[in-house]
Structures are given as structure tokens and as C-alpha cells.
Amino acid sequence: MLKYIGRRVAYTLAILVLISLVVYLIFDVLPMDPARLTCGKTCRPDVVEANRHRLGLDVSVWQQWWRFIVGLFKGRDYAEGVAAFHCPAPSFGYSFNRHECVSKLIGQAFPVTFSLALGAFVMWLALGVSLGVWAARNKGKFVDRASTTFVLVGTSLPTFISGILILLFIVVKFNLVSPIDLGKWHNPFTDPFGWIKTFFFPCLTLALAYAASYTRFTRSNVIETTAEDFIRTAKAKGLSARTIMRKHTLRAALAPIVTIAGLDFAGLLGGAIITEGIFNLPGLGRLSIRAVLQDYDLPVIVATTLLAAAFVVFMNLIVDILYAFIDPRVRVA
């Protein structure tokens, strides 16, 4: 088991190294020149070159990448003289546009995104799974048909519509959260109420979209599992319907949800661009969108891309380990 985890971690790290390299190579072949963008139309070539040096773009892409890797572990110094700046390890680079270490930018944005993702994750799991189980137990009845409608609406309604609807009709109309408060970061440990106020509706928006597909998935899994031979065995033992559902059906039916939920959660940790946009949340999604569309801020782009990939890869690992605890067939034979 430990050996397996060790191997998976090594493999994960290798993938991350590879991804970072690919990201660097992609930006290297793109036709845009960040150094050229640092000053206006009438820029003198020597200024551009000076800026290129300052940005660290005057060396080969391999060297740039290597410096990045070293920076991750050792921290890094940028520019020279008076403008010199040190980013401590782990340094993801320095944003010349925002004059900040990228790690600091991420440090500010990540709690926002994490709050959003975690809240949504809890909501959609609770909603989707319970609705799915409820529908499966009442297959063909009103609850089931109602859940089918919910699934249909939920999967076909994009978050930019549901988000705006929630924003306009619930938050603004009933003045549940003042527009000034919207998107304001509150530390959940010192101000849990403020934190809930900020995040409840954005989380709900995201959760609605996911909950629909989880409802559908749970429903069909529970129905399928109910028809399994081992459920018949459980009934033949004399177990009550409740125990069969709780101990036998759900255990088998919900196991595959661990995989999907883990990966969906990981995907959200990279930033929920639309929802963050609608609710004015300064999360990773906003950070990367600004870096890509406005600033062409290479260090930020590299960092956020890498981070998003890292979440997915690590969550994959965690899901696999979790799965081994759930399903003994995956464990040692």
C-alpha cells in the first residue's frame, strides 16, 4: 500500500514537471512578446531589451523554466538595484504588472476560490445524493418525476443564467446581501457569518449546476444496485429494508461518486471563472482571466495553470487511495 502511494506520488510529481514545461513551451511559441508590451508604441529597442532582461525573458525557454523550478524551492530575486525584489520560496514568479510576487496573489485568491468550491461541493453532494436516493426509492412516483424535472432544468441552465437570476432576484431584490458586501472576503474563523453571507449564493449557483447531474447519477446507480444479487442475499438474510439501503445498497451505489466528486472538486479549485465573475469574487478564476485577457501576465498565467493541473492530479491520487479503502477488490489481492 505504502509502496503504491509512493509510486503514485512520484508519478504525480513527474506529471507536474511535465505540465510546467509544456506551459512554458506553449507561451514561448506564442507570437506575443511580453517585453514589447511593457512600453508604448514609441518604445525604443534598447528599453524593450532592458525590460526583457528585467522580466527574465532574455534567456532560452529552458533556462526560464529551470529558473522557475529553482524558484519554487529556493525563492527568487527579480530585477536589480533599487527596484530589486525578493520572492521567498515557494516562488511562482513575480508579476511586473501588479508588482507583487505571484505567490502572494495566489495566496489572496486561493481562499476565495477554495471557499467557493468547498461550499458548492458540500451543497451539491448533499442535495444531489439525497435527491437521487429519494428518487430511486420512489421510482416512477411523484418525487422521481419531480427530480427528473430538476435534473433537466439543472443540467440545461448554464451558471451564467442561474447565477444572474440568483443575483438579481434573490440577493438584490430581497436585499439579502448588500451589493457592497458582495465579493468581500471574510475570514471564516473570525467572522463566519460574514463568510457565509459572501459565499452562500455563489456556492448555491455552482451547486445547482452540479447537483443535477449528481441526482441523475445517484438515482441510476441506486436503482441498478438494488437489482444486484447481493441485495437479494441481504434481503434473504432477514435484514430490514432500511438496513439494506443504508449498509448494502448505498455503499455500493455511492462508491463511484467518490471518483467523480473528487475530480469535479479539483476542477473547481482551479477557479470558477463565471461564478466568480458574476458575484465579484476575487478568486483564482478572476486572477487568471485578468492575466490572460488584460495584462498578458505570463508568470501569473503559468502559476494558475500549473496550480489547476496540480489540483486535478493530486485529487486523482487522493481519489484512488480513498477508493482502495472503499473497494477491497482494488486493495492487495
Partner: protein, 330 residues
């Protein structure tokens, strides 16, 4: 009575098929080799039915599939109508496929549910670009009639037929290209008892009429005994014994064959009450980790030290009766 010629139509010579395995769960990915078929030699004569029997995991299905080149053999030779086809690729196999056909166990999943019976049966014509003299439709209808189906049902779909009828469709499809050898993999084991007899008789009749040869792969010894001229008994990838049917069933010389035969229940309570039944201890060992020496030694009541050390070779114990055992039965 039909005739069996001395002409060999198919020969497996030291046929071996190993599969790489990653079994053992995600946390224990031992790479292993499953010796599904290990050094198997036998032949099928023209007009003959050879029964290939054994329990699950003995490699009988793999032998069948390797012989029609659904798998490439790991080593050994397959000689079909005088040609060594063991190294043939897909392209070279194509012209031979019409002569070497296969019937499968599950008549429910081996027919495409979206095709009509006509399309299914004539598919061979398309693949091999043949047009029968009497025209395709006529040819298909004749085939349906031959296997005992109503020729007017040519436009029906598989789900409109029962299991036994579907197996007949499968047989018609195999017969379309006038094969000389049919490898039938458990062709009746998914069918009900009263339907089994119908299909067994049909296979018998077709053999008489068309001079077919069969390799009949099955676990049901009663059916195999009924249909075969000769029987090959396999255990854990190896041949334990082969002989003419009557000889094998009345005078089995290998302990495994003897145990196997004694385990088959007989529909006759008086016989059952007096019968001596050898109940083998334990389970089939894993083919990933077969016992050393004779593969049967872990369950054999006669096993001695020699059996655990030395692999017994297949040898002729009496004319046309081969066994692989150090201490044969009398």
C-alpha cells in the same frame, strides 16, 4: 454411419498461449504470466468430431480461439489443411476464414441485434466477396432451411427468436461459406435441456450431410460423450488425456479424467446410490501460479514426490490413447 478419414484437417503442435496479467489489484500489480495453454498437441481428422473438455480455466476456450487465430499463439504450430497458419497475419488468414468457422456460446450476444437474420447469415458473402450461384437470398433461405428455421423468417430480427433458434442462426452463419471445420465453443451450454438435444442433433445431421469436422469445446461431459468421436481432456492449460470417446469414458487412465467422470451426476438414482464418487479435494489452483511438476498433483489422491517434481509427458499408454501421468489408473 458417417466416415472419418485418416486425413488430418487440423493439427495443433505444441500449441502454447500465455497471457500477460496485471491481476492482483491496484496496490499489488504483480506482473505475471497466465499459462492459458501450455504445449498442447492434438489433431482433428476430416469428418471427425473432437471433444475438448475441462473445467473453467483449463484453457479449452483459449485453444479454440487460438486455433482460429483470434489470438496469436505464443509458440507452437497450427496446421490447417496442410498449411502452417500459426504465423499468418489477418490478410493471409482471410481466405482461410471461410473454411474455418466458429460458433459461440451465447446466442444472445453473438448476433447483432440491429441486423435481420438475412443480413447476419449473408455477412460472410460480403466479407469474402462471394456471390453464390443461386443468388444470395436463395442461398440464405436454403441455409435457414438446412438448420431447421423457417426460410420465410429471413427478414426477422434476432430478438424475435428463442435461444435455440438463435443458435441455429449462428450455425447458419457459420455454414454460409461452406467451411470444412467448425470450432464450436460451448454451443449448447446456454440452452435449456430440451433445446440442447435439438441443437446437438442438428450438428450431427449437418456433419453427416456436409462432411464437416468439429472441434467441440464444452464442459458438459454428457454432451461431449454423445457428440464426439475422440475426446481431449485438459486441466490447467495442459492435456491430461486423449482417446477415442468410448475408451476414454469406459476406461479412463488419468486420475483427473476418472475423478471428472465420477463427478458428473447421472440421471439414474439407482446408479447414483451405488456409484463410487471421487470427490476431489480443494480448488483449481490459479493458472498464474500453477503447481510444479504435474499440474494436477495438488488435488490428486495418487500424487507422490515424483509428481511434484517432474512434469509428466504425454505418451501413448495403449494404441491411440494418450495420457500425461506418472501413475496411471488401470
Amino acid at each position: 454411419m458417417r466416415s472419418i478419414s485418416s486425413e488430418v484437417i487440423l493439427e495443433a503442435r505444441n500449441l502454447t498461449k500465455y497471457f500477460k496479467s496485471t491481476a492482483g489489484g491496484a496496490f499489488n500489480r504483480q506482473k505475471g504470466v497466465v499459462k492459458a495453454v501450455d504445449d498442447v498437441t492434438f489433431e482433428v481428422h476430416k469428418g471427425e468430431t473432437v471433444g475438448l473438455v475441462g473445467e473453467s480455466g483449463c484453457g479449452k476456450t483459449t485453444v479454440g480461439r487460438t486455433l482460429v487465430k483470434l489470438y496469436d499463439p505464443t509458440s507452437g504450430d497450427i496446421i490447417f489443411q496442410g498449411e502452417n497458419i500459426s504465423k499468418f497475419n489477418r490478410k493471409k488468414m482471410k481466405p482461410l476464414r471461410s473454411k474455418l468457422q466458429m460458433i459461440f456460446q451465447d446466442p444472445y450476444s453473438s448476433l447483432n441485434p440491429r441486423h435481420t437474420v438475412g443480413t447476419i447469415v449473408e455477412s460472410g458473402f460480403d466479407i469474402h466477396g462471394v456471390t453464390p450461384a443461386q443468388g444470395r437470398k436463395q442461398a440464405v433461405q436454403e441455409l435457414l432451411e438446412l438448420v431447421g428455421l423457417n426460410p420465410e423468417h429471413i427478414n426477422r430480427f434476432p430478438h424475435e427468436f428463442s435461444g435455440g433458434q438463435r443458435q441455429r442462426i449462428g450455425i447458419a452463419r457459420a455454414l454460409a461459406l461452406k467451411p470444412s471445420l467448425i470450432i464450436a465453443d460451448e454451443p449448447v451450454s446456454a440452452l435449456d435441456v430440451s433445446i440442447q438435444a435439438q441443437v446437438v442433433n442438428l450438428l450431427d445431421d449437418l456433419q453427416r450431410e456436409l462432411g464437416l469436422s468439429y472441434l467441440f469445446v464444452a464442459h458438459d461431459l454428457s454432451v461431449v460423450q454423445h457428440i464426439s468421436d475422440r475426446v481431449v481432456v485438459m486441466y490447467l492449460g495442459k492435456i491430461m488425456e486423449q482417446a477415442a470417446t468410448e475408451e476414454l469414458f469406459t476406461k479412463p487412465r488419468h486420475p483427473y479424467t476418472k475423478a471428472l467422470l465420477s463427478a458428473v451426476p447421472v440421471p439414474d438414482p439407482k446408479v447414483e446410490r451405488t456409484r463410487e464418487r471421487i470427490i476431489l479435494k480443494g480448488d483449481l489452483p490459479s493458472p498464474m501460479n500453477p503447481p510444479s511438476g504435474c499440474v494436477f498433483n495438488t488435488r490428486c489422491w495418487k500424487a507422490q514426490e515424483k509428481c511434484r517434481v517432474e512434469v509428466p509427458a504425454l505418451y501413448e499408454i495403449s494404441p491411440k490413447h494418450q495420457i500425461a501421468c506418472h501413475f496411471p489408473e488401470n
